[in-house]
Assembly symmetry: C2
């Protein structure tokens, strides 16, 4: 990890130090994904089978995973992992249930009642990546809120063969349909539907460059589907002072670094002593990791910043806007009111990122790549939508009429005015 | 207006009857907007002036509207419209203040505290269209929530000359910077910033095809800005039974139709008698409207649907997903729990759409074009973002450790496990 002293850098150098790697917009990926989406829309299930054979090198007997297969997966799993997944399920459910929006009713003027009501998004699609290791935790992060929101149809796609852990969590979360589908073809199938796969309204979940591009394309098409949020590489920023345990900080930096070679890892500290200790601890801990190769690559583009003060550390973090923000200082809670632009915040020595990745209860689907400035940590709200309601009494309408009439006149909209005056006249005639 | 009997239509004919007009994706608009954005990004203020001269045929002395000009606009306005705008401001503020999210704190397990905290989006840009009539109501709908959310910088762009009503409301809402800028160039200026115009994080507001395309383009660029929601033509669906007043229903249909020739207007009723009365009333009321031409065009593609029952009316509405949904039935509130996929709902005879367009308190920026299935009525949440926080005690971490360790093992992520085991070992060594 490279160490820099913040105040010794020019504005340009500071900006450069916090620059994220460019996400290459590859024309070949765009075109390939366009091709796959077109193939799925015209060819349906047959196209899905052909694409799965081509990309995943397997042809599952059925696109849809049967209940029997799900039950068999559950039977094969050991008790230890089942207990762990159930505990994580309970914590995530507890935190997301608490996010249920109560209906809001406000009388803005006598006789003018305005309400905000929430409805589940009816049909949602969850994408769970395959690859080197199964990600049952991501099934929890998407499946639990869809269940609590009350979405009527929940569809899950993951490239075959789907791990037992994923099928088990899908069952825990009451997911309605599970498909042996990965990549852009899975996204296309959920966005447009096929003979077998149900069309959904919104697609959630992480994926590789093809999945990300497919999500972007279907979300730009009115007939496609909405998506959760834009994607970028995973990242952590740690604020630590001289009180922090260097081993803990190093372990947290490494647990971000092992996610992938493009992971972003930043430590900001007012303590040069801690900076050095952490750098040493990272080297020592790295040696024994099974994914040391990946972590080393990520650390190559990572940085330790020595700041003047904790206040400056906070300013640097707010400017960077990290997905994960770990605060290991003497009084971490004191800093919370100052923290902004972060996906999820981990306060204190006993709150490593991995508890949030798995089981504390918070969601691990978070905005990355600076999107923390405008996007939220995934939550129940993303599986719902808010509608407004208004109901006026005849007195309420009469009281509000002069306001509406004056504004309609100012905007030159006669019919808007008439809809009010016509009613008021009828009321006056009745009197 | 064309009248159809729902049960006499085939599935395909039913789908066709509710089909929205295709939004033409014009390659020439895409290219023109790309050109404008590029010009603004490279040319800054000079480019803005040149583009304003080209498209708006005026060259304001300054891009930014001065405080003196705003004060002068206020002084020129009559008391009646100022009183109306203030009343609308109060009602909208009242309803949006009630949407403030309380911080949420949940102990998911003993010693594992999870929180949801809300922060304002720091810098927001509001686009207010110019054209035939000024839209001070849209300034209220965007300006009030940005003020209540506590956004640190609020920028407003509107094509010159900007109406006094717009400047007055901008002052009411405490908007920080107002610019004489319209079209794609205004969106580009807010998304990327220039010497004079502040860059913002998120852009809100309606506009023509060029503005909509510019919003789409900057929202697809990571260096650009987020946007409020996808755009489409405005629309209303009215559910009315034989108890409804045909004049009221006709007035509501017309106040939607006068918005623009592409406005969508739908009446669904179980009563053929009412259907006929409304059709007649529409013809009669249309004659006296100043925007009768526009309304007539919109009515050309509008439809009256005769359904079997109110239940079927609700099903048709939920399937269509209207921006505005007006319910004029004997017991409108009874239907509310069944209603889904609507932007804003107007219950009963005394709640015409124009009260929500202006002054009841609800927001008039609503999802259109079927986006009601996944998008929400604009509200305070859109000017904020949610971050999660977790803080574990040492006991909390020890209790959660076996869960995290088992899941990290299942996902093959050593460093995730180490970040927990290393802490637990230190705790055990201390004992």
């Amino acid at each position: 990890m490279k160490t820099v002293v913040w105040k010794s850098l020019s504005d340009t150098q500071q900006a450069k130090a916090l620059e994220r790697p460019a996400i290459s917009e590859s024309a070949s990926i765009t075109e390939a994904v366009e091709g796959v989406i077109k193939q799925v829309r015209t060819g349906g299930d047959a196209a899905l089978k052909a694409l799965t054979e081509k990309f995943d090198k397997v042809v599952p007997e059925n696109i849809q995973v049967s209940q029997n297969e799900i039950d068999a997966a559950e039977a094969r799993l050991g008790e230890e992992i089942k207990t762990a997944l159930k505990q994580a399920y309970d914590n995530i459910a507890c935190f997301h249930k608490a996010q249920k929006a109560e209906p809001l009713t406000v009388e803005t003027m006598p006789g003018v009642v305005c309400e905000l009501v929430t409805r589940p998004i009816n049909r949602v699609g969850l994408y769970i990546p395959g690859g080197s290791a199964p990600l049952p935790s991501t099934v929890l992060m998407l499946g639990v809120p869809s269940q609590i929101a009350g979405c009527r149809k929940v569809v899950l796609c993951s490239p075959p063969p789907i791990a037992d852990e994923i099928l088990y969590v899908a069952k825990l979360c009451g997911i309605d349909e599970v498909y042996n589908l990965g990549g852009a073809q899975a996204v296309a199938a959920m966005a447009y539907g096929t003979e077998t796969v149900s069309k959904v309204d919104k697609i959630f979940g992480p994926g590789n460059a093809f999945v990300t591009e497919a999500k972007r394309q279907v979300s730009n098409d009115h007939q496609g589907a909405a998506i959760d949020m834009p994607a970028g590489p995973s990242e952590v920023l740690v604020i630590a002072d001289e009180d922090a345990d260097a081993d803990f900080v190093a372990a947290d930096l490494l647990s971000q670094a092992e996610h992938g070679p493009d992971s972003q890892v930043v430590l900001v500290t007012p303590s040069p002593v801690l900076a050095e200790k952490v750098a040493d601890a990272v080297k020592a801990q790295l040696k024994v990791l099974s994914r040391a190769d990946i972590a080393s690559q990520a650390l190559g583009s990572s940085i330790i910043i020595i700041a003047d003060s904790l206040t400056q550390c906070v300013a640097i973090s707010n400017n960077y806007g990290p997905e994960h923000l770990i605060v290991q200082t003497k009084n971490p809670r004191e800093l919370l009111p100052l923290l902004d632009n972060a996906g999820s915040i981990f306060l204190g020595a006993w709150s490593p990122e991995s508890v949030g990745d798995y089981a504390s209860g918070t969601n691990h689907v978070l905005p990355t790549y600076g999107y923390t400035r405008t996007y939220s940590s995934l939550g129940l709200a993303d599986f719902s939508k808010r509608m407004t309601v208004q109901e006026l009494s005849s007195d309420g309408l009469q009281a509000l009429a002069p306001t509406v009439v004056a504004m309609a006149n100012a905007e030159g909209l006669d019919a808007h005015r008439n809809a009010v005056t016509l009613r008021v006249e009828k009321l006056n005639n009745k009197k």
